[in-house]
């Protein structure tokens, strides 16, 4: 009995050890970013980057704050895109899901099919690009960042299964009292399904915050940028200069200090990392529904 218990403890210890090692490995990239951003320019030049800065400073962050106007602009654009995109995503998907969830609605099968078909077949990257640019004229337009990703089969499935889990008597009794479908949707369904909508909102927000593909494809240099696009361009310049062996002295000002670039990256990435654990519950729940219904 006693031996058995001890044995189990050892196994558990090893499993804990395994997960601790993995956790450290997963956190390491974040730490390396953070510590490079805390390096002083001098130390970085002399000794290269290191995980433990000898004299950590916030000089990169001060530099970022001094040249804040492009970053502030990008930040504002990012926020605008994120907030409008998330709101639009939640409301559009919920409306669509409500229509599809009502068993008395005769068109629900075809409307559902129209959505699910897009899961399996699409125009592909280049056809979409040409159509969006030539027919819809959405180059350099913020709409292209916000609207295309709003409605998704997965989110509609998640919200729909939540709606269908609510007692149907709710809808029927509201009907009896003479409520219109709009009233039922906005006054009953929406307030009751905040957990599902929260799941969608969080994943949508993360998606919009991290979106790199559309900004890169549709926005020229000098046009409005999101934070993610700003980061990409910074990286482009950085690696370009890293490639060329001797940079002319007058060009040196143009090189974003690498510490500074890392500071911008940290500003972009870390808030999400710190805020996220509080919302993780919703996220995981949504994923579980998605996994079952997939």
């Amino acid at each position: 009995m006693r031996i058995g218990k001890k044995k189990i403890d050892i196994v558990n210890l090893f499993i804990h050890l395994f997960f601790i090692v993995i956790s450290l490995a997963i956190v390491y990239p974040f730490i390396s970013m953070l510590s490079v951003s805390l390096l002083s320019q001098k130390e970085a030049m002399a000794e290269g980057y290191s995980i433990w800065p000898k004299n950590p400073t916030v000089e990169s962050y001060v530099l970022v704050l001094n040249n804040f106007s492009p970053i502030a602009k990008a930040l504002a654009t990012s926020f605008f895109v994120c907030v409008t995109g998330t709101l639009l995503t939640v409301i559009l998907n919920a409306m669509y899901a409500y229509a599809v969830s009502r068993p008395t609605f005769p068109a629900r099968r075809i409307i559902n099919f129209i959505l699910l078909f897009t899961m399996f077949f699409g125009g592909g990257a280049s056809a979409s690009y040409i159509v969006n640019v030539n027919w819809l004229h959405l180059k350099n337009n913020l709409i292209i960042l916000i609207v295309p990703g709003t409605i998704g089969a997965m989110s509609v499935i998640i919200i729909r299964s939540f709606f269908q889990g609510l007692p149907y008597g709710l809808v029927e009794s509201a009907k009896l009292d003479g409520a219109s479908e709009y009233q039922i949707f906005f006054k009953i369904m929406i307030p009751l399904s905040t957990p599902a909508l929260g799941t969608i909102a969080i994943s949508a927000f993360i998606g919009y915050w991290n979106a790199y593909y559309a900004p890169m494809m549709y926005f020229d240099y000098g046009k409005a940028t999101t934070l993610s696009l700003y980061l990409q361009r910074l990286m482009d310049r950085m690696s370009m200069f890293a490639d060329s062996a001797n940079i002319p002295a007058e060009m040196l000002d143009l090189v974003p200090g690498e510490g500074m670039a890392m500071a911008v990256a940290c500003i972009t990435v870390l808030p999400m990392v710190f805020v996220f654990p509080w919302f993780q519950k919703y996220f995981v729940k949504g994923m579980a529904i998605g996994a079952v219904k997939a």
Binding site: I26, L92, F120, F121, G123, G124, E181, Y182, V269, A294
Partner: protein, 353 residues
């Protein structure tokens, strides 16, 4: 006073009961009427039908915004697919460009075969390799996490493992740059400290199969782990108790109870991912390699990065990249179907369709 309250409560309850009865009655009537709607002649149920029709219009109007978005951004691009059979020129537009039949597809057999061969081998081998490793690692991690009993520890591990999921590849590219940069990178610094020669990571394609594999695992392991762990939570606990009573050890329990339980989920996840075997994770292949660096292309150039280059730098034709995209989705669909069929022979529960 007390009696008064009691009486009041009684009256109130009676009243409520009455309301309830009326309500239930009305509900029944409504149900009967809506059911009868199908069979009764039009003139009898016309008013109810009118209400129904109004409801349906309202429901339809709720789905209209979504339908518009789908029409514009999902279905309209499908018309763009005609470009696969055209020689696209920006001035002529999509319909003005000349038809070339299947010319855009011929390079599958001739011409730039070397590029295509590279793209295809990279896409398929890397995707399959990463998918296989990821599946194995996530199954192991999910099952091991399930073995733990310490609630707090489980939550901490879950959160940490899941963190990279919310970081974009652009953000992650900074982390990898900090580590692998030739002059200042952390890894080269360590190599120098240990008396080894620094490596020009961004010029050595042969390392990148493995570097990208680490990136892939870093980003995706959390998702699978949590899904499998969540799935294991739904196993009937009495199974474990019974097995323990019968003297099964932990490993036996894992192999004979936990694993069979998640196997269908593993299979359906794998099927879905194999459907995308020709579509790679563009963000990873593009940003991790510092914007698809030419030096790294022999090992990291995949179909998706090629398509983007074709659009941005005009190195290939738009028609050709559309053709590739079309082949990509058709081939993906065929693979999906084939694997689904295969899975139905292995485990009926795991199939997607």
């Amino acid at each position: 006073m007390n009696i008064y309250i009691k009486v009041c409560r009684k009256k109130l309850l009676e009243f409520l009961k009455l309301c309830d009865m009326i309500y239930v009655f009305k509900l029944e009537v409504y149900r009967v009427k809506t059911k009868a709607l199908v069979k009764t002649p039009a003139n009898q149920a016309s008013s109810i039908r009118k209400i129904q029709r109004k409801d349906n219009w309202q429901l339809f109007s709720l789905s209209v915004p979504g339908l518009i978005v789908l029409a514009l951004f999902s279905y309209l691009p499908m018309f763009g697919l005609v470009l696969a059979f055209k020689e696209y020129r920006a001035i002529d537009g999509i319909f003005g460009s000349q038809w070339v039949g299947f010319d855009n597809f011929t390079f599958f057999f001739t011409g730039k075969a070397t590029t295509l061969k590279r793209l295809l081998t990279n896409t398929v081998t890397l995707n399959v390799l990463y998918l296989a490793v990821n599946t194995i690692v996530t199954i192991i991690m999910g099952m091991l996490l399930f073995e733990l009993k310490n609630r707090l520890a489980i939550r901490v591990y879950q959160t940490i493992v899941f963190l990279p999921f919310i970081v974009s590849w652009v953000g992650a590219s900074y982390a990898i740059y900090a580590n692998l940069d030739h002059n200042n990178g952390i890894i080269n610094g360590l190599l120098k400290d240990w008396g080894m020669d620094p490596v020009r990571w961004y010029a050595k394609p042969e390392h990148w199969t493995w570097i990208l594999m680490i990136c892939y695992l870093w980003k995706k392991v959390g998702h699978g782990t949590i899904v499998y762990y969540g799935n294991l939570m739904s196993v009937d606990t009495s199974l474990f108790e019974a097995a323990t009573l019968d003297g099964a050890n932990r490993f036996q329990i894992m192999m004979n109870i936990s694993w069979p339980h998640i196997r269908p989920v593993v299979i359906s996840f794998t099927i879905l991912s194999l459907g995308g075997v020709f579509n790679s994770d563009f963000g990873m292949f593009y940003y991790m390699t510092n914007g698809n660096k030419p030096a790294l292309r022999p090992r990291t150039d995949v179909i998706d990065t090629y398509i983007i280059r074709a659009l941005q730098e005009d190195i290939g034709s738009v028609g050709m990249s559309t053709a590739i995209g079309l082949m990509q989705s058709i081939a993906g669909f065929i693979v999906l179907m084939a694997v689904n069929k295969l899975a139905s022979w292995i485990d009926e529960k795991g199939t997607v369709f």
